[in-house]
Symmetry: C2
Subunit: 421 residues, 2 copies
């Protein structure tokens, strides 16, 4: 097994097999943002390695891409460079390569404890699209609102339903989330009212970051769709259900979602996920040809959600699922998204939509976990929850289990602040 000279615990999310990219800023010294990869408890500072002439794979780039404040410039260099850079960094960290291992001075400068850095938004996201690609989620929500016989809309099994989200309010893990204000109209109320949302929810999602765009008017064939993916992050698509149910007809969710979306700071390259590639759900009816693909197009990524209220000492796990339960693959999402001719650009993010599994404990949002409030979550702290309350910290986590190592996503966390009213 490939090993690094950096010690990495077996349950660490960041072994040499992973090497996710992120944008960080040293907590002291007030430096500029720059790019690193996570390895064990450290960040490997790629700007330092670049300056030291250690990164040949990207030195042809017209700018110093590892000193950029986002990954976009690196992503735009294309797959051949992604591959070469990953191999080069992996080689520099390997326990049998003395180049960095035995250069104490460079190691001291290039390896920064992760506790000493602030992580920033890794990518400048131009457009954010959110899908609705988990069948269990769509069926659960549909059952609650329309009954079991009409759970799935007629279009759901024929296309990956999606909609445009808000890019400006995507924030990095660790950013506090202000409870949104909004209009709501409970069924019993005669008129709508305005105030803090009372039905604040999370949504467990995985986001796919586009590393290769397409020209407007030129759809991406499904056979080439995965070539457009740079990597994946965890996404919490915070949702205000009371605002949503009043506003969403007929044009879809708007303010119920656009107050914040949290993503994990480390972008796991698609290459690191290859060992965990598996087949997705069986699709019946068979999709139309432009959405049809063979072979394994899903990934075995374990997903967890933790809640920590103000009175709790430790976070408590409230959900455990798996990415494999997505019905529509990322490749299908890309093929569908571009089928109209819509152009994707480097840095765009495609969210999976809430990922729920078939079991009760694998439901990916409070709406489902509490079955629209009828089954409150009982927490070990003797508290219970129907929706998120002020002070609650909600954390998504995810990883692939290898043989003796984990390829993980770290976490996407956020704490609810009281509304501004």
């Amino acid at each position: 097994m490939l090993r690094s000279f950096i010690e990495v615990a077996p349950d660490s999310h960041f072994p040499i097999q992973n090497l996710p990219y992120g944008v960080f800023r040293p907590r002291t010294g007030g430096g500029q943002p720059k790019i690193g990869v996570a390895i064990g408890n450290y960040v490997l500072d790629l700007a330092v390695l670049e300056e030291a002439g250690y990164l040949k794979s990207t030195e042809a780039a017209p700018i110093r891409i590892w000193s950029e404040p986002s990954l976009n410039a690196f992503m735009a260099l294309g797959r051949t460079v992604w591959k070469a850079a990953r191999e080069e960094i992996q080689s520099l960290l390997a326990n049998d390569n003395p180049k960095l291992r035995d250069n104490a001075e460079l190691r001291a400068r290039a390896l920064v404890p992760r506790t000493d850095v602030d992580m920033l938004l890794p990518v400048e996201i131009g457009d954010y699209t959110d899908f609705y690609a988990s069948r269990d989620h769509a069926a659960n929500v549909g059952t609650m609102f329309r009954g079991k016989d009409n759970a799935l809309m007629p279009n759901w099994l024929h296309l990956p339903v999606g909609y445009h989200g808000r890019a400006s309010s995507i924030v990095v893990s660790g950013t506090d989330i202000r409870r949104p204000l909004g209009q709501r109209k409970p069924p019993e109320a005669a008129a709508p009212m305005f105030g803090p949302s009372r039905e604040l929810d999370f949504e467990l999602e995985v986001g796919c970051l586009i590393g290769k765009g397409n020209e407007l008017g030129c759809p991406v064939p499904i056979t080439h769709a995965e070539e457009h993916i740079f990597g994946l992050v965890l996404v919490n698509d915070w949702s205000a259900r009371d605002i949503q149910s009043w506003e969403y007809q007929p044009l879809g969710p708007f303010l119920a979602k656009n107050f914040a979306t949290s993503i994990s700071p480390w972008v796991v390259p698609l290459a690191a996920l290859e060992p965990f590639r598996i087949s997705g759900e069986i699709q019946e009816p068979q999709p139309l040809p432009y959405l049809r693909h063979n072979g394994p197009h899903s990934f075995d990524i374990q997903l967890e959600v933790y809640l920590k209220s103000e009175s709790m000492q430790q976070p408590e796990r409230i959900s455990a699922g798996n990415f494999r339960h997505l019905y529509w693959s990322m490749a299908q999402q890309i093929a569908h998204h571009t089928s109209s001719g819509c152009n994707l650009r480097v840095g765009d993010m495609l969210g999976s939509g809430t990922i729920s599994g078939p079991r009760k404990e694998s439901r990916g949002c409070m709406l489902e976990l509490t079955w629209r409030g009828t089954e409150p979550l009982r927490l070990g702290s003797r508290e219970q929850r129907v929706w998120l309350e002020d002070g609650d910290q909600l954390t998504l986590s995810g990883w692939c289990q290898g043989d003796g190592y984990r390829v993980g996503f770290g976490e996407a966390t956020g704490r609810i602040l009281p509304s501004s009213l």
Copy 2:
């Protein structure tokens, strides 16, 4: 009346009272994009004036903002600078100011015939939001699909319904539009099919460009909402109705809209529209306090739509309406959009949604003009139209009528190309 030493016809859209900003590139010589204002049949090249030291109002900016490829840097300087720059440019063009008028060498370099330039997208648009703010449009569409008694959704009179659009596919006027492919399922079909849209439509809209952002979590009070507007453009939100009706439940329009949105190249500053400020529609029921404002918050902007098929010599007018028919003002749209805490950024665009008026000829899309295909449009060329056909050129135009002059938007035009299949 203020006059320029440049001759401007009374029906020109670009007198000295207007001075809209745009990004242009000289058609010959292959220069870089730069910023100008339209005056009569000319573009005044602001980069040339800046270099000549004629623009004091913006010389404190850290970069040469008039040589930028978008208006964003100028917009970010704020309202005080917008006002100063407008006054300075207006003064330089006034017929009683010899400074530019009598400098033949500089005039020759700074005034470029508009026929000699290509206009580019004026603004880098981060997020694009589309509202649904015309009551006549919403009522017409609702009547067609749900009957007269349920025409407006219950939320419609309480909030400006809106949704997130696609920013990547916003194109400048003159860009050809490729007919989109997509899934559709006619009511009589047993299963959906994939192919070129057969129900291609336009939507007559006006877009508001944000010049001042707000912090995430900090709503913009309605009393300050207009301060965030830099200027307005015409918007054609091309729509594929057959794709839309199959895909839009429950998350709203997606591929039906994201294949292209055309905007006019000249951004008319809000200051140029002040003389045309009028009261909007009466709102009953009275909106909730966060959406309540007094005084005139609409504008008297005449809007027209022209169609030119391949067999026609001249475009034919197919719709004539007015911006004043919008029910929800731009100020209300901004207050609502940010009420959740959502942040707007410099360059964001808020579309009004299709603007229809109370009369049949003031309907703002084919869906309404042909009443869902039941009343085909009969054209002078002896052709008729239910939806747009390949080769059709669709042009939006708009202007405010002053006393002896017009403050106009120019046009937003696009021609339909056959699908790629």
